[in-house]
Each structure stands twice: as C-alpha cells, then as structure tokens.
Amino acid sequence: MTEKEKAPGTPNLVCKKCQQELVMGKVTVSYLGAKFPIELLKCPSCGLIYVPESLATGKMEQVEQSLEDK
C-alpha cells in the first residue's frame, strides 16, 4: 500500500502506540450478521483502524439502516 492509494483529503495518521503511519488495508465491517470487506486506514503493526467521520455518518449509517429494516 502506498500513499497514492489514499483518497484525497485522507489525513495522515500515526498510531501513537506503534509510531507507524496508518496505511490502507483490508478490514471487515459487520452488522446484524452481515459482513462486508472494505479498505480503511490501519496501523500496519497493531492493526488499529481509523473510521473516518464521512464514512460513519454517511455510507455506514445508510447500510446500518437498511440492515435494520431487513
């Protein structure tokens, strides 16, 4: 994973514990039994994941709502 793959506007984040820069990596988001693989910034060392505000209050919320209505 390189810098270039980050979407524009993505902050430069450093894991305070590992002192490593977060890079795009595969993670799983799940809710009410449904699982989705997506790419998010995470610490290459300890795996600490960053969920951006725009994702939490945007797409994630939409998916949560539609899963709740299932």
Binding site: C15, V29, K42, V51
Partner: protein
C-alpha cells in the same frame, strides 16, 4: 397479530366509504371523481369516469332522475351540486367519446334478453361485455322504443342512436318484431325461450304480463310478475326480471332501470355458477354511506345558473359548478395530525401497510419508519367519527415487531439508554419524608422534569411536605413510558414492577405525579396504585407562599397530550393560573384536542423531521407565551424558539422563570438527575453525599455541544473513549493538526472522539459514532 382484528381496524376507517351522491345513486356513479375532473377542466377524463358506470351516457345524462342531488351535502350550503347537468356537460364537451366497450372471451352460454328498454339494454350490454352470447328480443320495429317517445327536446333521437351504436358494435343478435309471450298469434312463447336459452332476462316495461302466467307466478292483480327485489329472481329459476315492470308504473326512473338490468345480470351469473343469489348484496342500490364529511367552515355558494338552459351548462359554467363540490371525504385525523399527513394517505391504507410490513418474513421492511413515527398521542381517536385508534395500532405493531425480533435496534436505543439511566442507581431512590416512618403520599416527579428543572422538583417537594399531613415520601425513577412507547412490553413490565415494589415497600401510599406521562402510565397500567396529578393536589392544598407573581401576564395553555381526557387536571391548571394572577388565552385546539409536542411515542427519535413539523405547527397556534405542564413540551417548544413556561416556572419562580431558556442537553439531563438525588439525600435526609468530581475534565465548545446533541453522544461516552485511549495508548494522531483520534465501543455503539490534551482537561473537537463493528481481517 390477529388478521381479523387488523381487518376490523381497517374497516373502522371510513375514508374509502363513498360520498352521499355515490351512495344514493342506484349504480354508484363516482360523481365526486367525475366532478373533480371537470374542475380540472378535463371533460374527457370526466366522461370516461361517467361512462365506466353508465353504459348509455348520452341517454342517461339527459333523462336521469338523479337521486344523488337530493343527498348532496352542498344542499344547505347554496344548493346541491347539479350533478346531472354536469354529466351532460361531460357528454357535450368530451373530445374522446369513442365506444370504450370491450368484451372478454366468448362463453358458450346463451342468454335471452326480452325487451329493449333501459333495463334490457343494460342487461344485454353487461352480459356481452362479460362474454356471454346474447339475443335481444324486441316486439317493436326498433330498439328503445319507449325512450324515443320522450320527445326531441328532452332526448334527441340522435343521442339514442349514438348510444345504441355502442351496443350494436358488440356481437349481439337483435330480433326485432319478435314479441315473447304465451299468445298464439305472436309466435314465440316464454317457455320456448326458456327452453332454448341458459337464462332469460325480462325487461318488459309496464306491459301486462298476463301472457307469462303459464311460466311465472304473477301478483294478485294478474298483470305483474312476482320479482324478488334484491335478486330479481322470479318463480322460475332461469328467469330474472326488472326495470319499470318491477318498480312501478307510476314513475319512470331511468337510473333504477339501469340498476335493475345491471344487478339482474349479477344474479344471472351467480345462477349459472350455482352461487348464492342473495349473499353480499347489502350495498347494492342506494344505501346510507358511513362516510363523514365535516362541513364546518365551508362557505355557502349558490348554484351556477345556466345562461341557456336548453343547451345545458357551457364549459365555463360547468367548471364553476364543479368548483362548488365539497369533494366529500373524512380525513378528520389527517387534518389534525402532521404524522398522518406526512405519509400522504390515511389510516385504512396505513393499517394495511403496517400489517404487510409485519408479515414480511425475508427482505426489507419498508414501513418501519411509518410504524415508529407516531406520537401515540390519541388525537386521531379523539377526532375520528368511528373512534379508530391509529396510535393504538402503531403500538401493537411495534410490540409485535419487538416480539419477532424485527424492531430496528437503533431507533429507540438512545431513549432506552436514558430509561436505563433513570432506573439505575444514579437516580432512583424511594424514601419516607425525613423524620417520618410512614407515608400517606409519595411524590413521583418523573425523570424528565427532574432532568429539566431539578431545582423546581426540590422546591415543590418541600412545599408538599409542608402542606400535606401524614408524610409525603419521595420516589425518583422512571415510569417506563419509553419502554412502553418503543413496544418493549417486557421491559415496561419490569420497570413498572420495580416502581410498584418500591411503592409497596413504602406502604402503598397515594402517588402524586408531576408528569402527565407518568400519570397516564400509572393510571393505565398500574391499577393498584392510586394516582393523582400534582396540579390537582396543588389546586387543593394551595400554592407555596413564595409563589411568584407572574412575569408574564398572558399565557396560552398547551395541554399535555397524555392527559387530554383528564378534565380535572386541565381544570386545576387553569385554577392555579388564576390564583397566580395569570390571564389565560385558550388555543383553538386545547384540552382533548391538544397535540403532541414531538416527544410522545418517541417520535423524535424515529423521525426528527415529522417531530419538527409537529412542533412547528403547534407553536404557531397562538401568539402569547405558551404554558405547559409537561417538561418535555416546554423544552421542545423552547428549542424551536417559542417562549414557553412550565407551570412550575410560575409557581416556583427563580432563574428557571425565563420562558425563552433552552432546555438542558442530553448529557446535562443525566447529570441533573444524578445531582437532584444527591441534593435530596444531602439537604433533606442529611446524608453525607459527595458529588464525585469528574475524573476527566472536558472542554466542550457550544458548536461541539450541538454536534453531540444531534448525534446523541453523551459526555459520559466521550469520557469512556478518552479513558480507554489514555489507558491503553490506542489512539492516533493527525500529523497535520496534532489532534488525537480515538474510539471505544462500550456496548453496541462505537464512539469516536477527536481531541487535544490541554492543561485544564481534554478539548473536544469532534465526535461521531457508528453501530457497525470494524475488525482487521
């Protein structure tokens, strides 16, 4: 959910019942729909509606005896709508009048229709369009002989011919000059016809029927066939009869003739299918509709005159007359409820929708929001002519969805968390009055008043102790309303049981509630607990001596929806204001017609948009400052900029007397409850309670506080995130801003906090949350 019960509820909604004109019409012409099209200047669409009911529109529009007009609700408001004249206008001004008759696959069944008056022609028309083979017998030289005698001025021959052309374009066999009857000189006997055909319809007009005496039972006069008025059956199972022969020689009712032909065909079909002739025919012909139409406020408007009566209405005149139509419908509940109006339909449809939503096993439940957005305030039932409880149905479906495990978890999560706080250690307490071993009364201020105005709860409790003998104990807690409203029957039961247990331990005293919702919950669900409202109590025992003279001289009372039918409480509130010297202006929709403030039924959590509309509508009902006696009403109105007092603001005065003040945010509400408990224990019971200083000091700007409210993130959530991040080091730094970012998931929600460490505490820059769980693969 019981299917039949759902159906009964659906049927309680009368919105789809026909208007009086349609119900009075023997063939139920949709006059309202037709007139609506004329109002929109679409005569062709109006004609299409008319023609759907009336097979011979040119004829009927000229000669209909229009029983509809006598029942029109405009009757006393300027005169009945001239429906028949408007029908003629449809015929005259429609640009599309092509015969729209279609017929389905031909059946082998052959039916004889005897007589080509209106009933016979209608029977023939209906039978052909249903696919039967029809032979039409006419004694005379041409069809519709009787109609042709009405005169050119009343009914031009050309119109008769045009209407008959529609019939003749269909595969019908017409036998003119063929009299059916038992006399030798006329050829064909009825017996022969019965023999040849599968069924027979007789529409022989007012002619003497003695010629049928061999085949059919006649009335005592020996001239008229005995006809069963509902089914048009005669004494011969294959023979049906109707028209003017049935309904009398003294009057000619063209629309009744059409009715007879049409419903005789229904019987013929049932006879051929060997089905019951008489079942389910209670709304056949004219009937009294159940539809309620409120004519209050409708201004009288005179009938539009015709400039040239022989030519009927001009287009403009017809449109003007159509505009007078009241467009009868009920919608009493929809008119007063923003929630019901928001979804653009009415309870009958909503009930069906909610039931279908409940029945879905796999797939998306599209109506969850509809189900959860109702305030359960009961206004719909109050105004409904049939007393249908849409709110009650919403609640039942919520309970059923919870039971099925299909209630969306996030909708009520925050409210239920609030309930958990209010039933937890930090707020609940139950004590006898200091220095007493027993309680004759117990004061239950409720969780929301304690959160909004803890100081007033403290003050009024002291007043109650001083003015009531026998001991006034105190119970802090929650009545369980949020559990009930969210459909959590079990949780509600547990919450109420806990309250009742405490109450029993205090010796089952008389309960005094300050909150209308607590009052309602206890009254409806805790029958053993005698409950009285604080307002009736204060009306009786008097106000505190310190009761401040009002800072506002005139208020408009917003009654609480949960006590909309409790006249005594409403009366006491008005008395108390009188004692305070406050002038009252009544809102138009007060007392039993009051609205919800947007909190009821947890509507604001399920649908902030609708809750916002509810508040906006209500706060514009009156100019004066509002006065409420429910803390949530006050805070919700004030939040939208309406100056609103709580009754205790005027009774206790003090800093809370400001009608414009905004209520505390969610975090502060928790804190206020906890502090109220500490203060009560410390100041009244003399216990050594030390308010624990918050270990993590937060620095929160008003902007961030607003974000917290909107996203329903509490200060305690933020503290948990920071505590976790600082203890474990699980945090990240934005190298551009130097700010820290951390998250924590206490139970079902992950909270994110963006913060900086300052000398005096933690400065919060942003908060957000999500319910999805995120994990590294």
């Amino acid at each position: 959910m019981d299917r039949q019960r759902v159906r009964d509820r659906e049927n309680q909604c009368i919105q789809e019942q026909p208007p009086t004109c349609t119900a009075a019409c023997p063939i139920h012409v949709d006059a309202r729909g037709m007139i609506e099209c004329i109002r929109k200047q679409d005569f062709s669409a109006a004609f299409a509606i008319y023609n759907r009911f009336v097979p011979f529109p040119r004829i009927i529009s000229r000669i209909c005896d229009h029983p509809c007009e006598a029942e029109c609700l405009r009757h006393d408001l300027g005169g009945a709508i001239r429906i028949n004249a408007l029908e003629r206008a449809c015929v005259d001004y429609s640009t599309k009048k092509a015969a729209c008759a279609t017929f389905s696959t031909k059946k082998s069944t052959r039916i004889a229709v005897v007589g080509s008056g209106l009933s016979g022609l209608t029977a023939a028309y209906d039978l052909i369009t249903k696919g039967y083979r029809v032979v039409l017998f006419e004694a005379g030289a041409q069809l519709a002989g009787h109609l042709r005698e009405l005169g050119e001025e009343l009914l031009p021959q050309q119109l008769i011919d045009e209407d008959l052309a529609t019939l003749e374009s269909l595969p019908v066999e017409v036998r003119l000059h063929t009299r059916v009857g038992g006399y030798a000189h006329t050829g064909l006997s009825l017996s022969a016809v019965i023999e040849e055909f599968d069924a027979v319809y007789l529409g022989v007009g007012t002619a003497d029927a003695a010629c049928f005496e061999q085949e059919l039972k006649l009335q005592d006069d020996g001239k008229r066939i005995v006809i069963e008025p509902l089914t048009f059956a005669t004494s011969h199972p294959k023979v049906f009869a109707g028209g003017s022969h049935r309904y009398g020689a003294t009057r000619f009712s063209p629309i009744t003739s059409i009715h007879d032909g049409r419903y005789a065909v229904l019987s013929i079909e049932r006879f051929l299918q060997k089905a019951s002739l008489s079942a389910n025919r209670d709304q056949q012909g004219p009937f009294k509709t159940k539809l309620f139409t409120n004519t209050k406020g409708i201004e009288p408007a005179a009938t539009v005159p015709m400039a040239k009566p022989p030519q009927g209405y001009s287009q403009e005149e017809a449109i003007g007359e159509a505009e007078r139509c009241i467009h009868c419908e009920c919608l009493e509940c929809v008119k007063v409820c923003e929630y019901l109006a928001h979804y653009k339909s009415y309870p009958k449809r909503y009930i069906r929708e909610l039931y279908n939503n409940y029945c879905i096993v796999l797939g998306v439940h599209p109506s969850n929001r509809l189900m959860n957005s109702c305030a359960l305030c009961g206004l719909c039932t109050t105004v409904c002519p049939e007393k249908l409880s849409m709110g009650g149905f919403c609640l039942e479906t919520r309970q059923a969805m919870v039971e099925k495990g299909k209630m969306p978890p996030s909708v009520h999560a925050f409210a239920l968390r609030d309930l958990a706080f209010s039933t937890g250690e930090q707020f609940t307490m139950a004590r006898h009055q200091p220095g007493h071993q027993s309680s004759r009364y117990i004061f239950f201020p409720g969780c929301q008043l304690s959160a909004s105005s803890p100081g007033q709860v403290f003050d009024i409790y002291q007043h109650l102790q001083q003015s009531m003998a026998g001991g006034v104990g105190l119970m802090l807690g929650c009545c369980g309303a949020p559990a009930e409203w969210s459909g959590r029957k079990e949780l509600f039961g547990e919450t109420l049981a806990a309250v009742q247990k405490q109450w029993e331990e205090l010796g089952s005293p008389q309960v005094i509630t300050a909150c209308s919702s607590c009052y309602r919950m206890f009254k409806d669900h805790a029958g053993a607990m005698p409950v009285e409202s604080l307002w009736t109590v204060l009306d009786r025992v008097g106000l505190p001596p310190s009761a401040a003279p009002a800072s506002s001289t005139l208020v408009a009372i917003h009654d609480a929806c949960t006590t909309r039918h409790d006249d005594d409480i409403q009366e006491s509130v008005r008395h108390l204001l009188g004692k305070l010297g406050v002038a009252v202006s009544e809102l138009k929709d007060n007392r039993s017609l009051t609205t919800c403030c947007g909190y009821g039924g947890l509507m604001a959590f399920a649908n902030p948009e609708v809750a916002g509309k509810v508040v906006q509508r209500r706060i514009h009902d009156g100019e004066a400052d509002y006065l409420t006696y429910c803390a949530m009403c006050r805070d919700n109105f004030a939040a939208q900029g309406k100056r609103t007092f709580h009754l205790l603001d005027l009774i206790c005065g003090g800093s809370n007397g400001d009608a414009a003040r905004k209520g505390p945010g969610y975090s502060q509400r928790h804190e206020n409850r906890a502090r109220l408990k500490s203060r009560m224990l410390r100041d009244l019971w003399g216990e050594n309670v030390v308010d624990q200083a918050d270990p993590i000091q937060l620095i929160i700007s008003p902007e961030v506080a607003e974000v917290m409210e909107k996203r329903m993130v509490l200060a305690e959530d933020i503290r948990k995130v920071i505590a976790h991040a600082e203890a474990t080091g699980e945090k990240m730094e934005d190298t551009a801003t130097g700010r820290l970012l951390a998250s924590y998931r206490p139970v079902a929600v992950t909270y994110w906090v963006e913060y900086s460490v300052r000398e005096t505490g933690f400065e919060i820059h942003n908060v957000y949350s999500h319910r999805m769980e995120v994990s590294s693969i």
